[in-house]
Amino acid sequence: MVPFDIIFQGIAATFTVQNLFLLLLGLIVGVVVGILPGIGPAAGMVLVLPFSVGLQATSALVLMSGVYLASSYGGSVSAILVNTPGESASAATLLDGYPMTQRGRGAEALGISATAGCLGAVFGVLALAFTAPLLASLALRFGPAENCLLALFALSVISAIVKRNPIKGLISACIGLVLATVGADEVSNSIRFTFGLEALEDGVPFVQTMIGLFAISQVLTLSEQNQTISSVELAGSGFLTGFKTTFKHPLTLLRSFIIGLWIGALPAAGRSTASFMAYAEEIRAAKDKSQFGKGNPVGVIAAEMGNNACAMGDLIPTLSLGIPGSVGAAVFLGIMIIFGVIPGHKVFIEQGKTIYALFTAFFIESLLILALGLTYAKYFAKITLVRNDLIVPIILVFSLLGSYAIQNSFFDLLITAVFGALGYFMNKHGYSPVPLVLALVLGPMLEKNFQRALIMSDGSYSIFASSGISLVLVALTFFSLIYPYLSPLLKRWRIRSR
């Protein structure tokens, strides 16, 4: 149990003029880097790192916390308004967020995003502060077999996403899984499918791929249409409508929060997995599934809640065990170590003041994001009314910068261009890029844990059914795969029997 005086010292440390200024600065930088396609929390924090030199650990982490949390909101703004996820975790938000914008409900979608994001982060940080040790110990029970089955379960949600077009969905997922095998195999370290290109030895770069699939393909689509993204003037009252809409779906909020927090607490399963899983869960739970992907507010609520709860959940194993829950959390972990905050079970006592100052900063930032979303987001919404010949080059240069800035490599720009062409083709011809992205995220986790599990069991597949958790995951995966196809049959059977 952490002594109360440490907690109060941490809370008080946040409320200094310097730290409040840094908090606000981090928040603004976070929203901006979030809006820029490809520059997610990880790259954003690295870009801000030079500014933190000379700061105390508490101040530096308060600054970083702003970038870490606000980039998620910024990513959703660009996903909703210009169909370009600022970061991979916002890809699920655009599935319903952008169609809402096309229907002139962009302001409402932004309001939903800010409210659900705020709720996810507020409850997430409370969970992080009060239950971190408990959740971390539970996540530790997951061995390679369980992690492999978890990835398989997450992949099985593709079945619900591509229900209308299963073959093309499966092809898209296969492309993603094949791309996930490119580069050095993590277990045997052998190089695969690089075709002699050294740049591919670390695998197909994820952010560059995402920028291509979503941003460049969007540039091409917008160029073709020669009009503004939304021709409807956004109503100012839409933001408050979004605020109210969010609270009309308490079950969605609860389900997505649990999924987001849990996925976050599991090492290596990142925010994109959480937002897609929360989104897929809502499709599964909905009576009318046909409205998803066409501007259903529930889709935005689920994705945002899952994403933001996961951002906090990611920090549970990061702070408690030193195991980052995502790429963003990995960078956060590195920065913590630079400033002498060494994660582990002792961190809450030895660095308690800094840790609780961090939690307080997250809490304040969540509320500020809500305020920002409900007031200034309308200015972001104006982006959709800007002429295409102005907005397209802006999206293009920031997308290319996002791809270039990570490694300062022009080869990355080529990768982005190739995936831009692929994304455009897939959108045009009915291949959903979502299974590709999901498979690309989950593929390495699936393979690595599959190999490790088999090494542990001397090649016996029985390890995948050796624990209660494994059996539950196998059952869930099987159910998830067949349910989308079984449910219409069951419905018909019920109607006939009546």
Partner: protein, 160 residues
């Protein structure tokens, strides 16, 4: 020789290309160490099976595909202008080449000028030039001077 229309469809060509690539990669995977080849072979095998099934259905049982895909394709078809699409690629590729030669910062004017000249609205140059100059300045101050991203590092011009 006349090639049937069926074989010229973009989806058929794309899936055919994928099938060929997957077969070659499956063959290549056999050369990897045993542990490193299991997963890629499984995934590629799954892909080959799916694509083969699609090919068979496309060539011999098209009604089956129409049943599963027809509706989705109709909805996803967006009316667009092909020439604008090709010119857009020209602008993207041109901007990347300019950036490669003179440094990334030159992507900004290249992108704005190419889009403005080729795809932009006539008579709206003032706003275009204003945004272009503002963006270039923003790149210089924020990303070059402040964040030290080497955006002035090209083949012909290397200031970093």
């Amino acid at each position: 020789m006349l090639i049937p229309k069926k074989f010229k469809e973009p989806v058929f060509l794309f899936n055919g290309f994928l099938l060929g690539a997957f077969i070659v990669m499956h063959h290549q995977a056999s050369r990897f160490p045993e542990r490193a080849q299991k997963f890629p072979k499984f995934v590629l095998g799954l892909g080959i099976l799916t694509l083969t099934l699609w090919m068979v259905a496309y060539l011999f049982f098209p009604a089956l595909l129409k049943f599963t895909e027809g509706q989705a394709e109709k909805e996803d078809e967006v009316a667009g202008n092909r020439s604008r699409y090709y010119w857009s690629w020209f602008c993207i590729a041109g901007s990347i080449v300019v950036g490669y030669l003179f440094g990334f910062m030159f992507v900004v004017p290249a992108a704005f000028l190419s889009y403005g000249l080729i795809l932009g609205e006539k008579g709206k140059w003032v706003s275009l030039m204003t945004v272009m100059l503002a963006m270039t300045l923003c790149f210089y101050i924020v990303f070059y001077r402040t964040l030290h991203i080497p955006v002035l590092n090209g083949v012909f011009l290397n200031i970093d």
